[in-house]
């Protein structure tokens, strides 16, 4: 039987097309509803506001307010990673789409990659909105001199976060309603450990083991580095260790996601739970 053979170039092109299409769906779907966009910018500012006022009422330095605003912007990425990356196969399964993806001749990694790109773009716009609104409303100080390093670290942090999201997406693949509970569990505790609302590493008041646990989350490392540059006027020499750590996260997490995805897909097919809904 003569079957068409597909070369590496064609396969790559085909996967890139799929990734682009998935990214397009995410951007298009995510921005079609103005109320969602507005809510996703204003809601975090409410919480940020509460913490900025808390700092003020405690008479603490205003730079901590700046740190909260950066943290609030970064939380937008974490929320997107949790609900729109990690839980995405679950949503697709509930909508009846997972079957469609599973019979399509493209790598699931391409789909996840497309989702990630779309998520990064959508969330970057929202994070920028949170940042601008937060700074405008609360008038907190920033000292950004090295914009290149700040942007580079931001990019590394986001890539590391979405790589983690890909790992979670694979692990969540066979989840049913546990998705809700697991995601709930990964919100506040991660906000706490990653220092989204207060610096959680290099602070003597925080127990060492808490700081150590915190560095296992890419957001902690990235956020600390961005704060050092954007709030305290640091440059690449002050954050090189952060950069190394973030690159290490990416190098570990991305291949891990691929392995986890293959493992979970195979397990799902074996147990017959891959496209089973309402679990």
């Amino acid at each position: 039987m003569s079957l068409p053979t597909i070369g590496f170039r064609d396969e790559l092109l085909s996967n890139l097309k799929a990734a682009y299409a998935r990214m397009w769906v995410r951007i298009k779907g995510g921005n079609r509803e103005a109320t969602h966009f507005i809510a996703e910018v204003f809601l975090p500012v409410l919480t940020i506001g509460a913490y900025v006022i808390l700092y003020r009422s405690l008479g603490l330095p205003s730079t901590l307010g700046s740190a909260v605003i950066l943290g609030g912007a970064m939380i937008a990425f974490w929320m997107n990673v949790l609900w729109n990356m990690s839980a995405q196969w679950y949503w697709e399964k509930e909508m009846g789409n997972l079957e469609m993806y599973m019979v399509a001749p493209v790598s699931r990694m391409a789909i996840l990659f497309g989702m990630s790109l779309g998520g990064m773009i959508n969330t970057s716009i929202r994070a920028l909105g949170i940042l601008i609104l937060g700074v405008y409303v609360f008038q907190v100080p920033f000292q950004l001199h090295d914009i290149f390093t700040a942007s580079f670290i931001f990019l590394l942090t986001v890539v590391a976060l979405y790589s983690l999201g890909m790992v979670f997406a694979s692990l969540y693949m066979l989840y049913g309603r546990e998705v809700w509970h697991t995601n709930q569990l990964l919100m506040e505790p991660v906000f706490f450990l990653s220092g989204s609302y207060f610096p959680s590493i290099y602070i003597s008041a925080i127990p060492f083991w808490v700081q150590l646990a915190a560095t296992a989350i890419p957001m902690t490392v990235g956020l600390d580095a961005i704060r050092r540059i954007a709030i305290y006027g640091g440059d690449i020499s002050t954050v090189w260790l952060h950069i190394v750590a973030l690159i290490a996260f990416i190098l570990v997490l991305f291949p891990l996601a691929r392995k986890a995805l293959n493992f979970m897909e195979s397990l799902g097919k074996k147990e017959g739970r891959l496209t089973l809904r309402w679990q």
Binding site: A39, L54, R56, S57, L58, L60, E178, E188, S200
Partner: protein
């Protein structure tokens, strides 16, 4: 509808809700989940105060810590009831597709929402108790911070009625959110969290309302949640407000919210029937 029927339907709805939301794992894991989230929220603010205390200045403000522990623990009622009831219509209409069947069965829609709201109340109560116990164990036990909080000395004559009133008002708010959710599309993602966010900022949860800009303070002073948390803190001896006024305001505002909640729900119900929204599926 007879009260007995209403109570029976509420109980059955509660049991369904309990099975869906709570009975998904073993009790230890369930209690862990119920603890981790509120405790992490509490630790965020607690560490802000601890870090503040480590900086040059007045040192650790222990009374402030006590205030934050109690307010945060009881804010779980607000967060869980508003978020879950804001989301309820979406799951039951779009995901499980049962809302229309509940609606056409005689007289079950209202007790259904109340019953499902009560599940959040029970879940939140477990969280509140576990969080309070754990906080005292961590801050006064492990970290030995000597925070002035004594759970055994709580004035139950204040605490219990305030909690009952606060929870009743919150279920009424949840009722309104469910009503809005029925007649709106895709707002369910943001409804509950928006309301919880506003209450967190304006309810005097982690700072006194006097810390808010002066033009916001009247809004804060009008919110029943502010008084609910005030009385709760009073019952632990953590603030000295006028109990009688606070309780009276809480009681009156709760009655007012329940009335408004029922009116809003009726309007939404009529609109939903007119537009055929009881079986609408959400767009994703």
């Amino acid at each position: 509808m007879a009260i007995a029927d209403f109570a029976r339907s509420t109980r059955e709805s509660f049991l369904v809700g309990w099975k869906i939301e709570s009975n998904w794992t073993d009790p230890v894991l369930f209690a862990t989940y119920r603890l981790v989230q509120p405790l992490a929220s509490l630790l965020i603010v607690a560490f802000i105060v601890i870090i503040g205390g480590s900086l040059p200045g007045p040192g650790l403000q222990k009374a402030y810590m006590a205030r934050i522990i109690v307010s945060n623990a009881f804010f779980v009622y607000v967060a869980q009831i508003t978020t879950n009831m804001g989301w309820l219509v979406n799951t039951d209409r779009s995901r499980y597709e049962v809302l229309k069947n509940i609606y056409i069965s005689p007289g079950t829609l209202h007790p259904y929402f109340v019953g499902r709201g009560l599940v959040s109340v029970v879940n939140a109560t477990i969280s509140v108790i576990v969080t309070l116990l754990f906080s005292v164990a961590v801050f006064n036990g492990i970290l030995n911070l000597q925070i002035p909080i004594n759970l055994l000395s709580a004035n139950l004559l204040l605490l219990i009625p305030a909690t009952l009133l606060g929870v009743a008002g919150l279920i009424a708010v949840g009722y309104m959110l469910a009503a809005v959710s029925i007649v709106s599309n895709r707002l369910e993602f943001i409804l509950g969290e928006s309301v919880a966010g506003v209450f967190f900022l304006l309810g005097g949860v982690i700072f006194p309302i006097s810390a808010l800009p002066s033009w916001v303070q009247p809004m804060s002073a009008a919110l029943p949640v502010t008084y609910f948390l005030d009385v709760v803190r009073d019952s632990f001896g953590l603030s000295a407000t006028n109990h009688l006024f606070d309780m009276a305001y809480l009681a009156l505002s709760t009655v007012a919210i329940i009335i408004v909640g029922i009116l809003v729900f009726r309007r939404a119900e009529l609109r939903a029937k007119r537009l055929g929204l009881f079986d609408r599926k959400s767009e994703y």
